[in-house]
């Protein structure tokens, strides 16, 4: 019974890894690729580690697998945020079917500075870059 569950966990983890790899090959854009790889790989590592913990059934292995799972769950969103921010700043091309880019009116590509939608910072940004008239629409 426990072997059946373990095999199911191993296969499910590997298949989620395969889905993540397929997404990173097939999807058209850096951000969509990150969307596929981060979530799929995190879930795959979680399932594989659950299978390993079920195979050994020892406290030490439980501690290690929970440590790996916790570490992956903590670091994958931080790493994805860092690389997505850096990619946007470098100037990646978004997918041509992208409907909305809410960061564009709040980001100055010359000085590489962001400002929030608050009134004070928006005024400062207007003084710096006169061509961002859309800032007023995005207030509040």
């Amino acid at each position: 019974m426990i072997e059946l569950l373990q095999g199911f966990l191993l296969l499910a983890g590997s298949l989620f890894m395969l889905i993540a790899a397929l997404g990173i090959v097939r999807l058209p854009d850096l951000l969509t690729r990150m969307h596929a790889s981060t979530k799929g790989a995190s879930l795959g590592v979680m399932l594989l580690m659950a299978g390993v913990a079920l195979h050994f059934l020892e406290e030490v292995v439980f501690a290690r697998t929970i440590a790996i799972t916790f570490f992956v769950l903590m670091t994958a969103p931080v790493a994805a945020h860092a690389i997505g921010r850096a990619g946007y700043f470098v100037g990646i091309e978004l997918w041509k079917g992208t409907l909305k880019d809410e960061l564009r009116p709040n980001y100055n590509p010359l000085s590489h500075r962001l400002h929030s939608g608050l009134k004070k910072t928006a005024k400062e940004a207007d003084m710096k870059t006169p061509d961002t008239d859309e800032n007023n629409k995005h207030e509040g």
């Binding site: 191993l10 983890g13 790899a21 990173i24 850096l30 690729r33 292995v61 790493a79």
Partner: protein, 89 residues
Amino acid sequence: MQILIHLSFAILALSMVLCFARLVIGPGLPDRVVALELLSMIIVGIIGVHALQSDETSFLDVAIVVALMSFLATVGFARFLERGGRRDD
């Protein structure tokens, strides 16, 4: 059970190949960094399955270290892209 372990190895190897394809053809440096991060995640999974196959619990420490190194490498590449990299815009 051995068949399932081997099948899991095969699927993980296939996903490594796909990820390596993106690492080669990726148009820019951020795509390649994302592919590297996914590659290290797959390596963590392979180390886990190998620990299961060989009944050796010490390999899980290696998996922890690989996960830590991948996180540090990704954050380092992100800082490099933001501060020192060549700009495309």
